[in-house]
């Protein structure tokens, strides 16, 4: 075998290994046996159980609303800045934006916990959302400044041809900035939707998102049927599929844009 073929086989083996645990989780979520690795037949029982799982419903609503609000807030704030920055490197702004990305997440989470505690704010939806927005702002800004968001030649051409400021913005600036905006929205939405560590430190008693619920149940498996191994596999499968479908839609969108 040539070294090229050897490398190729190796590459696909590693690729396969990356997906085996996820595939195993998905298959287990359809296993009628409650025991790991004992296949007793196909069932959708664990998914039916999820329909009656009111805690999972609350967690889903919390995760979704926080992710939507946090990504919208952070991307619009960052977009306002990025449209004026136009790809220039503003050292002062960069110096403020990079520390939230570099700082260990657990340390940032502790900082948020202490600040909210000091202020005496009741921890829950708002504190979790604000905590997510802190790092989403940084990620949105970096994503928007890395991708090209302004095309001055085209804007000048539009103005020369008689387009007003509003029309130029609506018909030229916004559509051309769209790939960057979509990328920033996808990234910040998923960072928030799947965030665990910051949520753990900024949440209060009785408030939970999907990752927190999965964590609580994974650490005490079997305290109820909802927390049994395969019920948890079903819940984790749904969250994974949500993330994956956003990833696939995003990749397809980017490839289509690149193909033009």
């Amino acid at each position: 075998m040539s070294s090229k073929q050897l490398l190729r086989v190796y590459t696909y083996v590693i690729a396969l290994l990356l997906y085996i645990p996820i595939a195993f989780m998905v298959i287990s979520s359809f296993n009628s046996s409650p025991y790991i690795g004992v296949w007793e037949g196909f069932t959708t029982y664990w998914y039916q159980l999820l329909l009656r799982d009111s805690e999972a419903h609350i967690a889903l609503v919390n995760s979704l609303t926080i992710a939507i609000v946090s990504s919208t807030l952070s991307v619009s704030t960052a977009l306002l800045a990025a449209l004026q920055v136009r790809g220039r490197r503003l050292t002062a702004v960069d110096a403020l934006v990079y520390p939230p990305i570099v700082m260990p997440e657990v340390a940032e989470a502790v900082a948020l916990f202490l600040a909210f505690t000091y202020l005496g704010v009741e921890k829950g939806w708002l504190t979790v959302m604000l905590g997510h927005t802190a790092f989403n702002l940084a990620f949105a800004y970096v994503t928007l400044t890395v991708s090209r968001v302004r095309f001055e030649e085209l804007e000048d051409a539009a103005r020369t041809l008689g387009a007003g400021r509003l029309q130029t913005f609506k018909d030229i600036i916004l559509p051309l900035a769209m790939p960057g905006i979509v990328a920033a929205l996808a990234i910040t939405f998923l960072l928030s939707f799947t965030n665990f560590i910051k949520t753990l430190f900024t949440t209060g008693p009785g408030f939970y998102t999907l990752p927190i619920l999965i964590w609580n149940r994974a650490r005490r498996p079997g305290i109820s049927e909802f927390a049994s191994q395969n019920a948890l596999n079903a819940l984790a499968t749904l969250v994974t599929l949500t993330a994956l479908s956003i990833a696939v839609a995003y990749t397809a969108y980017m490839l289509r844009k690149a193909g033009r």
Binding site: T11, I14, L18, A81, V102, P104, A107, L137, L244, I246
Partner: protein, 258 residues
């Protein structure tokens, strides 16, 4: 001169970052010096964190796990990055990049959970082995992509040219591929070191009694133990350690990067 419109456009971002990121860090510093029980300012928490052998051992143990994770992911992913950058073309390259970036989108918690049941089935219980497998599994994409990005910048056909001119496989790896991979290796290593050093989820879910690293230690101090002073001081110490290691790596290898 900075334009006024630019200042106005950047202001909301700056203010939001100051309020949501920088102000909380002031609280972090405040509590790392403030003894709530005695009501006085003190440096005892820092002294405790850096002199108490219990904390020191946890820090060193976490560092050794992080370094092992970096080395293991590098060794595993370098051939993959080389294959994608050197030999894959067109559709295959896009497919492989999608395959290796997709795990990014699935959170650590879910991947660690998925791995846990699989390891359980094959007889690997919570402990050091499960912890290391979990770390390597979760961090592979973080090393692979920067390394691939550096290798993709190699001049096309450089390997073929070298081979035609009589270079052996060993020469090609040590004198072409690895030197070209260095910037990506550094970026990937820094990223993985930083993240795995302070990891919380994988040690807690997969490590069992061997999973008491700095992440779980901070969690225990702050949320379970109500020991804010030591927790805050420890959070600052590990942040300084992480940032220092990045800065040192950058200084040391700056010549290689440019």
């Amino acid at each position: 001169m900075v334009q006024r419109s630019l200042v106005i456009a950047v202001a909301p971002l700056v203010v939001a970052l100051l309020l949501l990121f920088y102000a909380p860090n002031i609280a972090l510093v405040y509590y790392s010096f403030y003894d709530r029980v005695r009501g006085v300012f003190t440096i005892d928490f820092y002294l405790d964190v850096i002199t108490n052998t219990v904390y020191l051992n946890v820090i060193l143990y976490s560092l050794s796990i992080a370094v092992t994770t970096v080395l293991a992911t590098l060794a595993l992913t370098l051939p993959v990055a080389a294959y994608i950058a050197l030999y894959s073309r067109g559709f295959e390259r896009i497919l492989l990049l999608v395959i290796f970036t997709t795990p990014f989108w699935i959170d650590f918690l879910l991947r660690a959970w998925a791995l846990k049941s699989l390891l359980y089935m094959v007889g690997v219980r919570e402990g050091f082995l499960a912890l290391m497998v979990g770390m390597v599994y979760d961090y592979i994409p973080f090393t692979l992509l920067p390394v691939y990005a550096s290798l993709a910048r190699m001049p096309p056909h450089i390997v073929d040219v070298a081979r035609t001119l009589g270079a052996g496989s060993l020469d090609i790896w040590t004198r072409i591929i690895i030197p070209y991979a260095v910037p990506g290796v550094l970026v990937g290593s820094a990223l993985v070191l930083l993240m795995s050093f302070t990891e919380l989820v994988i040690p807690s879910l997969l490590g069992g009694v061997r999973g008491f690293t700095v992440g779980p230690l901070i969690y225990t101090l702050i949320l379970a133990g109500d020991d804010w002073g030591r927790g805050a001081a420890l959070a600052i110490v590990i942040t300084v350690l992480s940032v220092l290691s990045i800065v040192l790596a950058y200084r040391r290898f700056k010549g290689w990067l440019l």
